[in-house]
Symmetry: C2
């Protein structure tokens, strides 16, 4: 059932998981969240991936019907996994990793009772760590997403017409994204992290705080979807920040650009330039071994020197990070916060997004996706970085 062209890639991933399990002293891990199943099999299915600390993985599939291959067994319920292990002569694991930050309480308890291991560990934390270092196939997926993302952004000015609202503009961009192959759906880690195709913020709406842990907010169009565009008229002197997803493969690139309706106040251009400076500074430092917390510190120092701290990452509510890992989910590890203990490593892919909100104008700044290599970063999102005047 695993995708044939991915066999080598998947074997690397299975071995990395086994190396971690052995280091942590676990006999097996059992995964069931969609992104983890995709990571270890190359496709989303409904079921379980069981990997012992040594040997081959087993795929326990509920749906879809028709999957075949080595180690594939159909189950209706998790209790059947144990029956199969007995049949296969595989010992019940005495220590087991389960997705403790993703499984619902009731699902976790059911699995825990079923296997009754002496020790359980958190497969979510382990998988998020492992997934932060991308394989060569994954890196190629990012390059494809980044290229189409860049092409889509080049088409954004053609989506604009005078007199539009932010929503009108966003609908045209979404339509362009889909015609360029956007999957529409993209995935986010964490409870209650709702977002639809990305965010477009114009004018004062960029100041509206949101309940979600994204870089910026926006009031949205309804109290049930309180994020992003809210019907703001795109009029002279406002900035439009576009942070729409790069989901043209399963690996989502992340890019933000700013457009203006006419000319903006000088402060907006100044802050935008500081964002570009922060990126340049970090591009020079982001080598393997560089601490994620220092990425935040570098940004913070430049912002303070420019006396723009009160505009940085929001006004009424300020995000405490300047970037994050990306992958099958838009918010992977590492996270660039002061409290992060992560360190950059070869194969990591991250989005850096130093942004400013200028009251009465809107949000400015850029976001790009970068691959960490031994020799420095490779930029994956290459659209024009200056503020583009739509008029």
């Amino acid at each position: 059932m695993i995708r044939k062209e991915l066999v080598d890639d998947l074997k690397i991933k299975w071995r990395n998981i086994q190396r971690e399990m052995n280091q942590k002293g676990f006999d097996a891990c059992l995964l069931t969240m969609g992104v983890n199943l995709f990571y270890v099999s190359g496709q989303i299915f409904n079921g379980y991936f069981y990997l012992p600390a040594a040997g081959d993985p087993l795929f326990f599939v509920k749906r879809p019907n028709g999957l075949e291959g080595d180690g594939v067994y159909y189950v209706r319920k998790p209790e059947q996994i144990l029956d199969y292990l007995v049949d296969l002569g595989i010992e019940k694991p005495r220590s087991l990793l389960l997705e403790a930050d993703e499984l619902t309480y009731n699902d976790y308890v059911r699995l825990d009772k079923l296997f009754a291991p002496e020790k359980t560990g958190n497969a979510t934390a382990m998988m998020r760590d492992l997934r932060s270092i991308k394989t060569s196939w994954e890196i190629e997926q990012f390059r494809i997403s980044g290229r189409i993302h860049t092409k889509t952004y080049a088409g954004i000015p053609s989506c604009y017409r005078s007199g539009m609202t932010d929503l009108d503009f966003q609908y045209e961009i979404e339509h362009l994204m889909r015609r360029n192959g956007s999957f529409g759906l993209f995935r986010v880690f964490g409870t209650n992290m709702d977002i639809f195709m990305g965010s477009l913020l114009a004018g004062e709406n960029a100041e509206a705080p949101s309940p979600f842990d994204f870089a910026l907010g926006g009031a949205g169009i309804d109290p049930s979807c309180p994020l992003g565009a809210n019907g703001t008229l795109l009029k002279e002197g406002i900035a439009v920040m576009i942070d729409m997803a790069g989901n043209y493969t399963a690996y989502t690139s992340d890019m933000t650009r700013v457009f203006s309706v006419g000319k903006l106040p000088a402060l907006a251009y100044k802050a935008h330039q500081v964002s570009i400076e922060i990126q340049q500074e970090i591009e020079g430092k982001a080598l393997p071994g560089f601490p994620a917390a220092d990425v935040y510190r570098v940004a913070e120092a430049i912002v303070e020197k420019a006396k723009l701290a009160s505009y940085f990452m929001g006004t009424k509510q300020q995000a405490k990070f300047v970037g994050h890992g990306i992958g099958l989910q838009i918010n992977e590890l590492p996270v660039f916060t002061l409290r992060s203990k992560d360190v950059l490593a070869e194969g990591m892919v991250f989005a850096l997004e130093p942004k400013f909100v200028i009251p009465g104008v809107g949000a400015v700044g850029i976001e790009n996706s970068f691959l960490v290599t031994a020799r420095g970063v490779e930029k994956l999102t290459c659209a024009e970085e200056n503020i583009i005047n739509l008029e």
Copy 2:
């Protein structure tokens, strides 16, 4: 912080929750999932809703900044909830309902340790039961969604051009939906239930089984998004089933219609007519007190009499339900399966979707959303029900 215009509606909901808590013997419930928070406050926020078995609710808010009102307290972490309860002279609950089918294992354990109740219960199950009976405000939201949904479906033929693929067609329909005010995002209950704006299935792709627990499948455009349209050319003789969300308010109506490219084989029209018959039969029976399982039985009996069982709800993989409640999530209670213990009640809103997959042709059948009233059902989705020829 609660929406002023909803005060009366929210008070009804709080009292209903308290009535349930008292019946079940619980001192308090603590809710933190987005849809439940919207249900009890009229808006999505990041934080907790605490309701004692008697008295007023408390809103513990993490984000967004700036919410104010009776019972609103800002917290950074759940541990502060207990500090506030002490300050307010509220006794720590000895029995507590938590969202056991939605909270992650680690989040649940944190709250459970914090409150250390003698008894815990499942707030997910309770809330899903309560949410299945809609208030008059909620019913009005459905009527609005249903009207715009109907208007959008009337525009579907204008989205079609000869030579399109299913994806081309879907992108135009999505664009129309958004211009008509679709929120884009809609919510689904359950782990790994990924879907984007709905489903469009053309020709043989309607047979492709999917990992998700929706009525039908489709291969999708990538193994990471295995659902729906897959690039099928819309050519003479195939059926196109359109099941795109009615998310024009927070309450999502659900409607499916079938379009044809030219003329379809007689079997397709016959099966479509049987779907319409099933709806008519159930419309006559769906009064308060009618068992959800009997809805399935009525459909099954008509399907068997028509000798169409092998096409019903799929071919290679057949769904075992013919409909479901709708609300803030697309898959609420009741569910029309043989095993359901639910009974129809006044104020329930459900989608009925008897569908057939005809090999080599595509999917046929209709889906509509209905409100259960004392006098019978009110149909909320009123687009033309016959198969419409796009050519």
